[in-house]
Amino acid sequence: MASADTAEPVRPDEIKAIPVRHPGRWVAAAIVIFLGVALGKSIATNARFQWGVVRHYFFTGQILHGALVTLELTVLAMAIGIVLGVLLAVMRLSPNPLLSSASWLYIWFFRGTPVLVQILFWFNISALYPRLSLGIPFGPQFAHFSANTLIRTFVAGVLALGLNEGAYMAEIVRAGIISVEEGQTEAAQSLGMTRLQTMWRIVLPQAMRVIIPPTGNETISMLKTTSLVSVIALTPPELLGAVQNIYDRTYQVIPLLLVASIWYLILTTVLTTGQFYLERYFGRGATRELPATPLQRLRRGLFSFQHASGEVRGASGEGR
């Protein structure tokens, strides 16, 4: 109560201190800038990069089609992988010992052998089951592909990549499922929801928050793993196969590998963006405030720039 007596509390002066100097940071920055400039100069001036050739081939039909095939392989293989992964994860957590060991065995086998070997295996499946060489292994739903040797390599590639991915996705999905609190299942059961409803409506949506980041990782990894399919000479070829076809003719190996690399980088960037928005969607309810989208951050940045005080509050309500 002493403060009530004093007429006016005296506000102390704002602190104006000399900031700590960080000479180490300046040295480190100088080294990084030097290395960056050296690299940049070399990339710009070393004629053997043949940037002209890169530019010439970058948008040619063969390359664009190769990128498209790469995307198709990625999407289809991941689709198979995710569906299979959910199935295997649920089997693995099943109280039925036969189901859980079958899942264990599958994961053990497909994670235990190199994916390149699996690709070659599927490509040569006709040697194992000649009867299937006429058509497509799994039933009539693929029948419209049949007898077409060109697409058979594509299907072999998709199957090899997808079945392999299923084993990895199974572990990711399992981790997601067991990350959801037991109480969620109990609450759903106490309301009379069946096991399937509980899994589908309550557990999996919340597991997604844990499942999405590593799945994004897997998708990006898959995008590049599709280049392994070039060993079974896909026609029409995927991205790496497409540039190989060209440089086998022209011997411009380096610039064409650059073309492929830049396209892989572009596609990866697109996928990373997609992952951000997916994570944001499934993060609803888990965090009090969703992370801002780049657009929101930009808008907020501009806004706070106008009002130098920067007292703009987060756009928490947006995007719901």
């Binding site: 969620q184 109990e186 759903a188 009379g192």
Partner: protein, 255 residues
């Protein structure tokens, strides 16, 4: 006298070699509010989890509204119920948990309408109307579109009560509904529970440490210790003149 809503006869439950329930026999009449008290580890929570078959009992019999819980009896043989039948039994019993267990990815309203839509196949607009009304009754009409993580503990527990009520249960089980709450939030949840008992005549089995609630809203107080029912009676009598040493010892600690 009407048939009891819950009837337990010599209910036993083991976890591995640990016997948690050692023969529980009791009856809860329709409209009755039974409060179960006792030290932690006495088996109170396990017992009410048995009532909606979240735990399987090892011996004895348990009926809810005349139906055997989890089993079907034909002659002297017991058959385990199929998943769908267990679900049907459970859908008539509401349960409120100590840790709320609201569905984290759903708003308050979505939490409340989920089971009516999926389990009872109520049309969505009817479920939404009923859900809004229930949330209004627990004082949360302002929070329909709020996610659980943005609600206080007391608000979450009130949503959880509305969620259980949305299935029109004939029996409500409360598992220490206020134990995870900050002291100043306990009252709002207890008020909702009291209103449920007095205004709607809901049959309730409440595991609680709230002596005040048991005295005010409870019709019966049951004191459990070490897997058995030690003492049963009117709350005022049990609290004023406990007959057993163990009840006295427990009450002297919590009162």
């Amino acid at each position: 006298m009407s048939a009891p809503m819950v009837k337990a006869e010599g209910v036993h439950k083991r976890f591995g070699r640990l016997e948690v329930l050692k023969g529980i026999s009791l009856e809860v009449q329709p409209g009755e509010v039974m409060c179960i008290l006792g030290p932690s580890g006495s088996g109170k929570t396990t017992f009410i989890r048995c009532i909606n078959h979240l735990e399987k009992i090892d011996a004895g019999r348990l009926w809810v509204d005349g139906e055997l819980v989890g089993y079907r009896q034909a002659g002297d043989k017991l058959y385990e119920l199929r998943d769908a039948e267990v679900c049907r039994e459970r859908s008539q019993i509401g349960m409120v948990f100590q840790r709320f267990n609201l569905f984290g990815h759903m708003t308050a309203l979505e939490n409340v309408i989920e089971a009516p839509i999926r389990v009872k196949k109520t049309p969505k607009d009817a479920a939404v109307r009923a859900g809004k009304e229930l949330l209004r009754r627990v004082g949360l009409e302002q929070k329909l579109d709020t996610y659980p993580s943005q609600l206080s503990g007391g608000q979450q527990q009130r949503v959880a009560i509305a969620r259980a009520l949305a299935m029109n249960p004939k029996l409500m089980l409360f598992d220490e509904p206020t134990s995870a709450l900050d002291p100043e939030l306990v009252g709002e949840v207890l008020d909702v529970m009291k209103a449920l008992a007095s205004d709607f005549g809901m049959t309730m089995v409440v595991v609680t440490h709230e002596i005040g609630f048991a005295r005010e809203a409870g019709d019966t107080a049951v004191f459990m210790d070490d897997g058995v029912v030690v003492e049963t009676g009117k709350p005022r009598e049990v609290f004023a003149n406990p007959r057993h040493e163990r009840t006295k010892a427990f009450l002297s600690k919590v009162l």
